[in-house]
Assembly symmetry: C2
Homo-oligomer: 346 residues x 2
């Protein structure tokens, strides 16, 4: 497949087909392209080119006498080589800025706000992967003794976010001892993940050959318990927007999609992939290897606090989504969120 060997005319026509299909949702014929996009050419000429594009695998014909529809490959070429990246309007930018203001510093609120504003502005479905305890870098840790077996761990991230977790312990540790442990941990903390803290403790224990230092041992145990068994959390906004889309008018398809959204584990798997990479990513249809995403596209970008990637935010929509606008939207939002989480508050 000579993906990058398209000549100007082929590129123009592919672009036109995709644009038209994105707005209309109906297979687009040569006539429409000739009239609406390339007036100096006749329908017959365009037909020839379209036949070529179909052969390369960029277009597809649902049936003999229908127009053409882009394939996954066609969209891929479009987003990689054809698409321009428009900016959002000032109005939209300020709507986002207004919409995302984490008052309390609790991640839940921030995630809700992000998913809300993304789904409102896109009219599609927003997905946000929350920061994980393991991923985040922390400024402070506190332990609150709840009862004999349970302790509440309070973590304040460098970004100002506050996360909590209840952990179960085997031995009784009283509050003064907990305070000592947190003082000890806090001394090591600062711009560092909990995993790194653990490693440092282990290193220090080795170095000091003091394997039975109770304080260190307990600090290690509490850190472990805190990191233990954490699964990603996804916030979904505007799932109902799928009902707008004519291509999901079929109830079976709708059901499939809604079930996929409820069974969040698959979604987390895809989003996790975006977590490792830097920058915005687009996953089109079958590219995702997940059955339910066959007919969907994901536009997602990681967000950071400082240099640490914390989570992912994005939009899920039909493959005929307005990629250019959505890229602008997701990109702007991710940058804004990163900025908010990076500016350390007093």
């Amino acid at each position: 497949m000579l993906t990058r060997e398209l000549n100007l005319r082929q590129r123009q026509i592919l672009k036109a087909v995709i644009h038209d299909y994105i707005t209309s949702g109906e297979p687009v014929g040569s006539r429409i392209i000739a009239r609406r996009y390339l007036e100096h050419l006749s329908a017959a000429t365009i037909r020839n080119v379209m036949a070529d594009l179909e052969e390369i695998g960029y277009l597809f014909q649902p049936h003999t006498s229908a127009g053409r529809v882009p394939t996954d490959l066609g969209y891929r070429f479009y987003v990689d080589s054809l698409m321009q990246r428009p900016r959002l309007s000032k109005t939209e930018e300020s709507r986002i800025e207004q919409g995302i203001r984490p008052g309390s510093g609790q991640p839940e609120e921030l995630m809700q706000e992000i998913s809300r504003i993304l789904s409102d502005l896109s009219r599609y479905t927003a997905v946000v992967l929350a920061p994980k305890l393991a991923q985040n870098t922390w400024r402070r840790i506190d332990f609150v003794h709840l009862n004999r077996e349970r302790i509440l761990v309070v973590l304040v991230a460098d970004s100002g976010l506050v996360q909590q977790k209840v952990i179960a312990i085997d031995e009784v540790i009283d509050q003064p001892e907990l305070d000592r442990i947190s003082r000890y941990l806090n001394a090591v903390l600062g711009g560092v993940t909990l995993r790194e803290v653990r490693d440092r403790i282990v290193a220090r224990m080795a170095e000091e050959r003091d394997e039975f230092n109770q304080l260190m041992r307990r600090a290690l145990e509490l850190s472990n318990k805190t990191l233990e068994g954490e699964e990603g959390q996804v916030y979904i906004g505007g799932a109902a927007n799928f009902a707008h889309q004519p291509e999901f008018a079929d109830v079976k398809k709708m059901k499939e999609i809604f079930e996929a959204f409820e069974e969040k584990s698959k979604l987390i798997k895809i989003l996790d992939q975006c977590l490792t990479r830097e920058g915005l990513r687009i996953i089109i249809g079958r590219e995702s290897a997940i059955k339910e995403m066959r007919e969907l596209s994901l536009i997602a970008s990681p967000y950071r606090s400082g240099d640490h990637v914390l989570g992912v935010l994005g939009i899920v929509g039909p493959k005929r989504i307005a990629y250019d606008r959505m890229v602008a939207l997701v990109d702007f939002t991710a940058r804004l969120v990163s900025k908010i989480l990076t500016e350390v508050d007093a």
Copy 2:
């Protein structure tokens, strides 16, 4: 309307119509009733009775040559006077008991588990209204100083649930002072809501004529801030189950419903009504005064910790839901959750 003046035969026939409609989803004719439910009567006789029931307003005919469908009033009479209350099977009971085990003591988990098990077993949509800070009675309160303006409030309920909230304060309060305040509040706490604590402080301030006692003043302020601006939280499980239902095959209706679920405020409003009342409640179709619920029924029951009603759990489904089974399911679950939240853990 002489609602309770139905004779035996009318009751039998109404019950038969409702049972058949609930399982089949199709308008039921006199023939079917005669064959399947009341073999000693002829279709013609049943037709006469059905005509009567239609006149009273319990049945309705979609068109001249269709069978009958129950009206909201018909369902209402059924659940009030006709329905028996079966027990769940042992298998189901133990599935629920297995499914609801709040490990961490964080309400989120418990709510998730409840909504999951309810939607799994009912094959409809589960709704759970989370406990509110204001409603709950507390065993302990702690404050963790986060930074200049923010404090984390940690509340341990009598039920063992742990809830947190970040509040913003105007004046700087350091950790030792926060500890003093929490000691003071803890002394008043125990089987009591935060609102009552506030009232007691106010009373004591009045009594001691010591309006400028800083400790009390600050304790009061922190309690106020904690209660401030709390909105109900709803957990929804199995929304995709609506797609099973033939009556929502119409995409427009589906969309309406999904949007209603996303816009949770309306749902909260309905559930709040169930919060005040004791015991299980059934709301059928237009009884709810909320447009989106027109075609839906809600079966909900409050759950308690000790004598305090904390929240509500229930099931939303089409009006032709299997009321008897759902009532058993919701009732059992509410009792179980109440039991879990009442048994004080060590």
